[in-house]
Symmetry: C2
Subunit: 450 residues, 2 copies
Amino acid sequence: MEILDLTRYTGKYDVEGVIENFEKGGIKSGDTVEIEGMIHRIRSMKSFAFFVIRTARCLVQCVYEPGEGGTSVNNFHEEDSVRLRGKLVEDQRSALGFEIHIEEIKKLSGAAAPLPVVINKGKLNCNVDIKLDYRPASLRNPRERAAIKIVDGIINSFRTFLHGEGFTEFVPPKIVSAGAEGGADMFEVDYFGDKALLNQSPQMYKQIMVGVFKKVFTVAPVFRAEKHSTTRHINEFEGLDLEMGFIDSFEDIMAVEARFMKYMYKYLREEYAPELNILGVELPDISEVQIPVFKFMEIKEIIAKEYNREFRNPNDLDPEEERLIGEYCMKEYGSPLVFVTHYPSKKRPFYAMDDPENPKYTLSFDLLLNGAEVTTGGQRIHDYQMQLDKINARGMDAEEFSDFLMMHKYGMPPHGGLGIGLERLAMKLLGCDNIRTVTAFPRDIGRIRP
Amino acid sequence: MEILDLTRYTGKYDVEGVIENFEKGGIKSGDTVEIEGMIHRIRSMKSFAFFVIRTARCLVQCVYEPGEGGTSVNNFHEEDSVRLRGKLVEDQRSALGFEIHIEEIKKLSGAAAPLPVVINKGKLNCNVDIKLDYRPASLRNPRERAAIKIVDGIINSFRTFLHGEGFTEFVPPKIVSAGAEGGADMFEVDYFGDKALLNQSPQMYKQIMVGVFKKVFTVAPVFRAEKHSTTRHINEFEGLDLEMGFIDSFEDIMAVEARFMKYMYKYLREEYAPELNILGVELPDISEVQIPVFKFMEIKEIIAKEYNREFRNPNDLDPEEERLIGEYCMKEYGSPLVFVTHYPSKKRPFYAMDDPENPKYTLSFDLLLNGAEVTTGGQRIHDYQMQLDKINARGMDAEEFSDFLMMHKYGMPPHGGLGIGLERLAMKLLGCDNIRTVTAFPRDIGRIRP
C-alpha cells in the first residue's frame, strides 16, 4: 500500500503563476523562476539563442546561453517539451514585461518531424482545409487556439450563470427514435440492426425536464444532416439550451438571456483578456446597454425604410436584412445585440405558442448578435388540447408524437426556452468569417477527420 | 421598439428563497409569502384540503380553505400548476419547519389526464420499464428526480474543480471516421451516403488538445454498441474526461483525481443535502481520508489471502474481487475510494505507457468507488517511435492511425489522463442497483424512447 501525495501537479511550473506574482510585485527582476512548456520558436545567434516557450496561454521569451558542460543549443528543436530554471529579467519590450535568462533547461520529450504548417509566425498562413487536416499542429498556433479557448469561456459562463439562477443541468439522449421537428435532415444510425436517428435538438427532453425541475439547461451536441456547404454551417454542433417553467410571458426568457449575455461579456472581458487580445477583438462593455426589442414586422419596415430597400418576404429575415438590423441597432442604440420578436407562425415549429392577439404570429424571438441570429426561442404550448390541435392542423400525425404529448397530457406549467448554437455565437462574437475557426474538430459534408 | 425589463423572472415565486429567509429569521410565522409549483398531492377534508406543492427541490405543505367566492377545492387536480399567496405558519412536524395557509390561489395550467404511475406516495412502485416508458411522469417523483439532480451536481463539481485547476474545456467530435480503441463495438452512421462511426471515446482528441492547452477536459457523450443487457451498462453514456501534459508520473493524474473526489464529496454534501436526504444516502466526509493505492498484483494477493479465495485470472479483476477490495479498504482505511495501479499491459489499450521497470505492466490505474471501477486512467505514450512500435507489435495497421500518430510526430509532452463514466460514478456514489436510476433517458439494446 502506498500513500498518494496530494500536492502533486499543483502548478509549480505554470508560468501563469509567475506572471500573476510578477504583476503583484511578489517576483522581481533577478529572482529565479521555474517554468515548463513547448519550444514555440528558436532563434539562434552566435553564442546564444532565443527560445520562445509556449505555455497554456502565453508565449515566454527566454534566452539560452549554454555554459561549460551545458546542453548545446543544437540539441533543442521547435515543439520539444522542456522544463527550465532561470532568472527573471524585467524587459518592457516583452508582452509579459519580462524575459527569462535560462540557467538550466531539461528536454522532457521531442518532436520526430518538423511541423507541416508554420505556426510560430503570427497568423497561420494556409487555407482552411490544410488548417483542419493538420489540426494537432495548427491548433498550436496562438491565434488558432485563442478562438477555441474563447469557446471554453462561453460554455463556462453559460453554466455558471444558469447555476447561479437556480437552473439544473441534465443530459439529453443523442440517439433517438424520432425527430424533434419532425424528422427531416437527420442522420441515421444502425442501432443493433434497427434504424435510429441522431438528435437534431433536445427540444422534447428539455420540455419534459421543466415538469421535473422547473428551470433546466443542457450543453449537448446536435446533429443536422443538411447538405449545405457554407462558412456558417457545420453538421454537428454544440447546443446551449435552456427551458424554464412558470413564465408570465416569453419576455421572461428574453430577460434571462439578456442577463446571461451581460454576464458572458463581462466574464470574457475579465478572464479571457489574453485571448481576446491575441485575436484583436475588443468586446464592448454592455453592462449598461439596453438591448432593443423589435417586433418582426416592425423592424422589417424600419430597415426597408432606413436603407431604402424593397419590402420582400414577409415571413423571414434574409442574412442581409439581419446584417442591416445589427448595423442599425449599433448606430441607434449602441447595442451589439437586438431581440426580434413575434415571428410568423408558419415559420416556427409546431410547439411554438401563437400570439392570442394575432395567431399569425408567435410568442417567439430571435437574438441577433453583430447582425446575425445566434438564438431562437419562445414560449411553448403547454396545454394538451392546444398542442394536439396544432399538430393536427399542420397535417402531422399525432400518433408519432405520443412521447412528446405525454408531458402535456399529465400537466405542464406555462413554459418556454431557447437554443443557442455555441459555434455560431462564438463566431459572431469574435467576428470570424468561418465557423470552422471556432470549432476544434468541425464536421461538414466533406469532413469527418481528424 | 420596446425596452426589456431585466428584473423579470428573478425567482420571486421560488419557495427556495422563502426557505432560506425563514431559516435566517427574515420570514416569520404569520408573514405573507407567495410561491408557485405543481400540485403534487391533494388530500380533501370536509371544509378544506391539504395541497402539497412540488417546487424545483421541495414539497411544501399548504392548507386551502376557500372562503366566500373562492375557487372550490374540486377545481384543482394533481399536477396542476399553481401560484399562491398565503400565511407562513411554523409547524415543527413539517420537513421545512412551516406550512402555508393559502389566502389566494391561481391555477396557471392543468393536466388533461391523471398520471399513469403513482408518483406522490414515496418510492415509485413499478418496474423499471414502466418507469422508463413514462419518464415525463415518473421523473416527477421526488426520489426519482433526486438521483438525476445529483448527476447535475457531479457534472458541475467536475467542471468547477477543473477550471479552478487551470484546465480548459473543449468539445470533441461525436461523428468520427475511426475508433479510438480500434473500431470494435461502434455504432455506424450513414453520413451523406458514406459510413461513419459514433465515437466510443474522446481519447485521441483529448491527447491532441494537451499539445494545445496542456490541461484539458471534456464532458461529452460516448457510444458503445455492446450487446450486453445488464444493470451496469448503457449504450450511450456521458464521459467525464481529462488529460494533462508535463506530468512527472502517472501519480500526478491520480493526485488530481483524488483532489477532485474530495471536492465533489464536499460539494454534494453542502449543496445537494436535500436530495441526498430524500435518497437516504449519507456521503462520508472524506476530506481527511487518505485514499489507499495498491498495485494490481499486490491487491489481488491481499484479497485472495484475506478472503480465502483462489487466485484466478492474473490479468483482470472480476466484479466480486472489486467488491471485496472496496470492503477491505473501507474496513482497513476507512476509505470508500481506492486506486489500483499497474494493470497488465495486455489488458490496456495500445496508447498506454508500459512500466519501464516491468513492461508486462502499465503506468495506469483504476479508481474503485464503493467496490466498483468508476475511472480508468494512466500515462500515455508520448514518443512517436515508441507509439509506432507498440501499434506494430500489436499487429495493428499503423496506416489507420495516421491521424492519431500525427500529434506524436510533431512532439507531445509527457502526458496522461483519465475517463470517468458519469452514470457509473453516480450509481456507485448513491448505491443504486441499476444505472438507469441515474440516467434520465437511458439507451440500451431494447430502448431508444422516449
